[in-house]
Symmetry: C2
Subunit: 711 residues, 2 copies
C-alpha cells in the first residue's frame, strides 16, 4: 500500500497491555461498564485497573496509581473527572505509556475552563510523547484484536469488515445496534471526541492498513485540515473504499461575498469537490452509508453498468428498472443463448426480456436455473434479484439455491427481499453468505450504482495536475506587489483594477481583450478607433463589481458619436446610482464575434484551498445554478468532468444552431485560472464572467472579470 | 362528504354472502388457500363453496354449481381456469349476484385468445349487471368487515387505517408483510388485476367512504382515465389523504415532438401536474409511501412549518436539522418561558437552542419535562424527537413517559428511534400508541414535511378555473375551419402559418406583435416602414419550426437597406439549409423594447388533457430544464404556483439590474393559452417562445410562436 502508517499510533492498535484509570466497583458508573467491557472483550494482552481507593474489581486488583501497574502497558484509558486528567497524563508519561484514550467529558465542550484544561492535556501529551484520543469520546473498539475500551452496554458489534470513525459519540451505540439489526460486522469503531490530538485524518491510514477492514465509513461534522484530509484519503481510497456521511449541511456560516462564485461556493460545494478529488463516496443518510458499505465489503466490482433484474413480481421489477436508471445503470440485453436457457425453464407467460419476470410461481430451482445463465452472459455485468415471498415456497429455500451461484460468479449480485417477517430466514441466509440484501429494490439499485462508481474510480488514471505552460508567477507577484505598494487607487473594497487584472490573467496565459481606460470622452473615441469598431464601453470603478446591474455597460457601439454619448451616459448613471463610488472613466474594449459564454471563478476555501466554479454565466448565474465545483489546481480529466456536469459545458459540443465551441480552450482557461488562484491565495475571489468561447480552434477570451484581494 | 359512492359496487364492500367458485380439497392449490382464508377471516355473512365435483371442504358442502348455493349471495369469487369463467358469470347473472372477483389468470396478459375471453366476460357482466374486479388479481381484503378473498398465506395484515389499492398483485403479499413489520394496519387492500371493469378510479370514493380508512395508498402503473382520476381523486383528497407510488417512469414511449414543450412534457410531467391538481401526494419509493401513511393516519396536522428537534444525541440532531431544511421545514425559536423550563431540568452542558440537545444522560423524566413545554410553546408547530438508546435507561421507559404527552398535544410529534434491537420495546410502545416512529431522522423529517404539505393543501381554496374574459372560441373555430378547408398552404408537417396563429392568440386575448408576411424584398421594406423601425425579419416557412437554428432570423434591422439585404439573406440561407422546405418569404415584425423572456407552451396529453409548460425560454430550454408543468385550464393560484417553481418565474419579481416585469400579464397570458389549448385539443402542440414581458404594467407579448395541428 502506498501510504505510511504513523508508528506513534501503534499504542492504540496493538497494545501489549491496557490500564483503565477510573475503574470503579459501583455498577451504576461508566467506570464499571468500561472495566466490564475490557474484561469481557477477550483482549489477548494484559488488562489492569487503577483507582486510588484500591481494592478488587472483577477479580483484578485496583492499583492506586498507574505507576504501580506491572509491565507491559502501552495504552491508558482514562475515565476520571476532567480536572484530574493532567496528573494522570503525567503519571502515564513517567510510566512510558504511548497512547491514551480520554473518555472523560468536561473539556472544550463546556467552555473556557475546559478548553484550558484540554490545552494543558495536549502540551503534557506532547512533552511525554503520548498520543491522545478524545477527550469526551466513547473510545475505541477492535472486534478482531479484540479490544473494547468503551462503556457501551453489551452486546458489542459483531466482528466484520466495516470500520467506523465518528465525530459523534452518541451515534456509536446506534451504529452497533444497526450492525446487529442489518447484519453487517464492524472491524474497528473509533469515537473521535474533541480531537485534541488524533483526528479523523490521522486514523485513515492505520484503519485502512488493518487487514480485517474492507470498507471505511466516516461520520463527519467537519474536517480538521482539509488539504491533509484530501491527501490522506486520496491515498487510502486507491486501496479501500471510504464512505463519508458529512452532516451539518445547513449550519455553516455565510461568507461575505463579492462575486457569483463567492455566493454559490458554500462549504458544501468545497466538501463535494474535496470528496470527488479524494475518491471519497458521499452518503446522504446513515442508511445509505451502511447499505453501500455492505455491498462494497462483500461484492466483486462490476466491469460496467449493464445489469439484469431477475424477479418473481412484475411491479417491483418495474420499480427496480426505474431506480437503476436513476442510479446511472443500464438494463442489459440478454444474448440468444441466455434467452434460450430462460425459455427452457420458465412458463410461456413469463417475460424473458430484462426485467426477467419469472412470475409469482417461480420455484427455487427456477431462480437458480435463471440466475446461472444470466451471470454467464458476457453482456451482463451485475444482477439485481428481487424476491417477493413466493406463495408456494419459502424465501429461505430460494436463498439457499442462489447463494452458491452468487459465490461462484465474479459479478456483483444484490438482492431485494420484499417484505419483513416472511423473509427473515432468507435474510439470515444471505447475510451469512455475505450477499447484500435490502428490503426495497430502490436500495438494491443504489448499491449497484455505488459498486459501478467505485469500479470507475479505480480505473481513473492517477494524474497529478501539471502546471500549464507559459505561466509567469513572478510577473503576477510583481504586479500584485506593485499594486499594493502604490495603492493610490486601492479602496477598502479590495477590488483589483481591471487593467491589473487583465495583466494577471495574461501572465497565466488566459486571453483577454485589450481593455483600455479612457478618462474622458475624447480619450474613449481615440481608443475605440485604435481598437477597432464595434466596441463596448464599461464604467471603470473599483467600487462597482457588477457593472451591468446599474446600466454601466454599453455594447456594440459602432461609431465615434455613439462612443462619445455613451461615455457621458454611463459615467453619469454610475454617479447617480452609486454616489459613493470612485468613477475613473470608462473601459473601452473591442467586441468579439459571437460565441458561447460561460462563467469561471475561484474562491479560497479555508479548509480545502482554492475551489473552482464553472457554469452558465451572465447575470442569471445564481438563479439558474447551472454550475459545478472542483479543487484547484486541476488535471485535464478534472476539467473535463467539471465541464460535463453542467449544461453550459455540455453545450460547448454544439447544440441546435450553436456550432461546437472551443472546448479545449475552455478547459485550458479553467486550468490556468485554477493555477493562478492556487498560486496566489491572496486573490480571495477571482471570476471571469463571461468567458467568451469562439468556435472550435478560435480560442476563449475573458470579456469581463473581477477579483478581490485579501489584504 | 362531497363525493358519491357508486351503489353498484356495494356487492364488494358489504356482501351478505360470498360464494367461492373453484374451492378445492387439494391443499396445494390456490383454491384451497382461498377457501381457508374465507373461513378463517371471521366474515360475518354466509360463505359458500362451489366445485362441480361436490363433496365437503372445511366442514362446508361443495355445491356443484353457484345456482345451487342458498340465499343470500352478493359476491362471487371465481378461481377456475380462464375458459370456464364466462359460464360461471352466466350462472352468477342468473343467480342475481351483483359483484364478482375473478382471481384467475389466463386473460389479456397471455395474448389474443385471453383478450377475447376477457372481452366476453365484460359483455356478460354488462348484460347481467355484475361488476367485475380483476381478472388476474389477488382479490380483496377488508380487515374490519372482516373479509379476505385472497389466497395469500396467513397471517393477514393487522387491522388498521391504511387502505391499499394496487395495480400489482405481486406486491400485495409484501405490503401485508411490511405492515406487520413496520407496525401499521391495513383497512382495505384491493388488487386490481387487469381492470376489465372496475379500476383504481372507481374505487377511490368507496374506499374513502370507509370510516376505518384514514389514508389511501395507491400502487399505480398507469391510469385508466386520467381526467376522471383527477376529478375523483380531487374530491376524495379534500377528505382523506391519497398517496400514490407511480412506477414505470422510464418505460413510457416517446412521442413525436415538434416543440420544446413537446420534448420536455413527458408522461411523468403530466402525472405530476395531475397529482398536484388532485392533491395526491406522490411518493418516490414504497418505503416513503408507508412512512408517510403512518404519519398521516396518526398525527394531527401542523399549523405551520416551525418545528423543534429534541434529542439525546448531537450528531443525529444535526442530521435532523439538515433534513428538516431539505423538507422545507424551519427550526422554531423557543420563547423565554420554554427556555427557562428547559434550563430547569437540563444540565448546564445541554444545548437549549433548537436542536435541543439534552445529552446522552437524558432520563425518561427529562425527555418528558422537555417535550411538555416545547409542545406548549406557541411558536412551535411540530416536534421531531430523537432517541438514541441511552446508556443508562431503556428506550422503552422513554417511550412510556412520552406517549401520554404526545396524545395530549394537538401538534404532530414524530420519533426517530436510532438503532435496531435495543429500541424494540420502544418501537412496540410507540406503535401501540399510534406515534409514528422511524429508524432514521431523515425519514422522520420527511414525514413532518408531508404533514405540513397536507395541511397547506387543505388550506388551499377550492377554486375552479374561470374562463378568462374576452376569449372568442367561435373566432378560433372559424379560423381553424377556414384554414383546414382551403389548406392550400397546409403541409404534411401540420404547422399553422404564423399569421393564422397570431389571429388565434389574439382571439384569446394574448397580445402578439403584428407579424406581416412579405413575399418580396420590396414588400418587406414597405411593411417595415409601416410597422416602424427597428424590425425583425424571420423566414416564413411552414416547414421550419425553429427558425433561428438555421440562421433564419435577423434582429434590430434599422433601415430599408438592411431590410432589403436581410430578406435576400434569410430566404437564401433557408433554401440552402432546408432544400425541401416551402419558403413563403419573410415575416416582418416591429421590435419591442427590452424585457424578460420566457417560454409558455401546451401539449395535449392522451390521459390528462392539456398540459401547460412555463419556464426559461430561448434556445436553451431543453438544456437548462428550468420549466414547470400544470394542467389546463388553470386557476390564478395554479398559474402563480407554476411561476414560482421556476427561476424564470421568480426572476419576474426583479433580480439585480432586471426591473420587476409584468407578472400579472404573464399569468394572464398563461391562463389564456391554457384556455385556448384546452378548448381546441386539435392544437396538438402550441408554444410561445419567447413571450417578451415588459416592465410592470406594460404587458407581455408573444414574439415568436409555433403550433401544430393534429388533423
Amino acid at each position: 500500500m502506498n501510504f505510511e502508517i504513523d508508528a506513534s499510533l501503534s499504542g492504540f492498535f496493538n497494545p501489549r497491555g491496557v490500564a483503565l484509570i477510573g475503574a470503579t466497583q459501583n455498577p451504576t458508573k461508566l467506570g464499571y461498564g468500561l472495566a466490564r467491557n475490557l474484561v469481557q472483550c477477550n483482549f489477548p494482552g494484559e488488562v489492569h485497573f487503577v483507582n486510588p481507593k484500591g481494592g478488587m474489581l472483577l477479580g483484578k486488583p485496583l492499583y492506586v496509581s498507574v505507576l504501580e501497574v506491572p509491565e507491559p502497558v502501552d495504552l491508558a484509558v482514562i475515565l476520571v473527572p476532567a480536572q484530574g486528567v493532567p496528573q494522570i497524563l503525567r503519571d502515564c508519561g513517567r510510566r512510558g505509556i504511548s497512547a491514551a484514550i480520554i473518555n472523560s467529558g468536561g473539556f472544550r465542550e463546556t467552555g473556557a475552563t475546559g478548553s484550558a484544561l484540554e490545552e494543558e492535556c495536549l502540551s503534557l501529551a506532547r512533552k511525554y510523547k503520548i498520543r491522545l484520543l478524545g477527550p469526551n469520546c466513547i473510545g475505541f473498539m477492535d472486534t478482531h484484536l479484540p479490544l473494547d475500551t468503551t462503556f457501551l452496554p453489551p452486546p458489542g458489534p459483531p466482528a466484520g469488515e466495516v470500520a467506523f470513525l465518528s465525530h459523534s459519540g452518541a451515534i456509536c451505540g446506534t451504529v452497533i445496534d444497526w450492525a446487529r439489526g442489518h447484519g453487517f460486522g464492524i472491524s474497528r469503531m473509533i469515537s473521535l471526541g474533541n480531537q485534541v490530538d488524533v483526528n479523523e485524518t490521522d486514523l485513515l491510514a492505520p484503519v485502512a492498513g488493518d487487514p480485517h477492514t474492507r470498507v471505511i465509513t466516516l461520520y463527519m461534522e467537519g474536517v480538521s485540515n482539509g488539504r491533509r484530509f484530501i491527501e490522506q484519503a486520496g491515498r487510502v481510497t486507491r486501496h479501500k473504499p471510504v464512505i463519508a456521511l458529512k452532516v451539518g449541511r445547513f449550519t455553516s456560516g455565510q461568507r461575505a461575498v463579492a462575486s457569483h462564485t463567492g455566493a454559490l461556493a458554500g462549504r458544501e460545494s468545497a466538501f463535494n469537490a474535496a470528496f470527488h478529488r479524494a475518491g471519497v463516496i458521499r452518503a446522504e443518510t446513515s442508511e445509505e452509508m451502511f447499505d453501500w458499505a455492505r455491498a462494497l465489503a462483500w461484492c466483486p466490482l462490476p466491469k460496467g453498468r449493464q445489469v439484469v433484474v431477475l424477479t418473481n413480481a412484475g411491479g417491483p421489477g418495474v420499480t427496480a428498472a426505474d431506480s437503476l436508471e436513476i442510479n446511472g445503470m443500464q438494463l442489459a440485453s440478454l444474448n440468444e443463448q441466455t434467452l434460450a436457457a430462460l425459455r427452457d425453464v420458465l412458463p410461456p407467460a413469463a417475460s424473458l426480456h430484462n426485467p426477467v419476470d419469472m412470475l409469482a410461481s417461480a420455484t427455487p430451482e427456477q431462480y437458480a436455473a435463471c440466475l446461472r445463465p444470466i451471470l454467464g452472459d458476457p453482456g451482463v455485468q451485475g444482477v439485481l434479484v428481487i424476491l417477493a415471498p413466493p406463495p408456494m415456497f419459502s424465501a429461505g429455500a430460494v436463498a439457499r439455491a442462489l447463494i452458491p451461484i452468487i459465490h461462484n460468479a465474479h459479478k456483483p449480485v444484490v438482492v431485494a427481499l420484499m417484505g419483513e417477517r416472511l423473509i427473515q430466514e432468507a435474510v439470515e441466509h444471505f447475510r451469512a453468505g455475505h450477499v447484500p440484501e435490502y428490503r426495497f429494490p430502490e436500495r438494491a439499485a443504489s448499491a449497484l450504482g455505488i459498486l459501478a462508481e467505485r469500479a470507475e474510480y479505480l480505473e481513473r488514471p492517477l494524474e497529478q495536475p501539471e502546471v500549464p505552460s507559459n505561466v509567469h508567477p513572478q510577473v503576477v507577484r510583481q504586479l500584485l506587489d506593485q499594486y499594493i505598494a502604490n495603492n493610490t487607487t486601492l479602496t477598502t473594497s479590495g477590488f483589483l483594477p481591471t487593467e491589473t487584472l487583465c495583466q494577471l490573467l495574461e501572465a497565466y496565459g488566459i486571453a483577454t481583450l485589450p481593455v483600455k481606460l479612457a478618462k474622458t470622452a475624447n480619450e474613449a473615441v481615440e481608443l475605440a478607433q485604435q481598437l477597432g469598431y464595434p466596441v463596448a464601453l464599461k464604467v471603470a470603478s473599483p467600487d462597482i463589481p457588477h457593472k451591468s446591474d446599474i446600466g454601466g455597460v454599453l455594447l456594440n457601439l459602432e461609431d465615434d458619436t455613439a462612443v462619445r454619448q455613451g461615455f457621458a451616459h454611463i459615467t453619469d448613471i454610475s454617479r447617480r446610482m452609486r454616489p459613493d463610488a470612485e468613477i475613473l472613466g470608462a473601459h473601452v474594449q473591442h467586441m468579439l464575434p459571437a460565441g458561447q459564454e460561460v462563467i469561471i471563478g475561484a474562491v479560497q476555501d479555508q479548509q480545502f484551498g482554492t475551489v473552482m466554479m464553472f457554469g452558465s454565466g451572465g447575470v442569471d448565474v445564481e438563479g439558474l445554478k447551472d454550475v459545478g465545483f472542483a479543487l484547484a489546481p486541476m488535471t485535464g480529466e478534472e476539467a473535463e468532468h467539471l465541464l460535463d456536469c453542467t449544461w453550459a459545458g455540455k453545450k460547448l459540443k454544439g447544440y441546435r444552431s450553436l456550432p461546437p465551441a472551443d472546448r479545449q480552450a475552455t478547459k485550458d482557461a479553467l486550468q490556468r485560472l485554477a493555477q493562478l488562484a492556487a498560486d496566489f491565495p491572496e486573490l480571495e475571489e477571482i471570476e471571469i464572467n463571461p468567458l467568451r468561447i469562439l468556435p472550435q480552434g478560435q480560442g476563449a477570451f475573458a470579456v469581463d472579470m473581477r477579483a478581490k484581494l485579501n489584504l
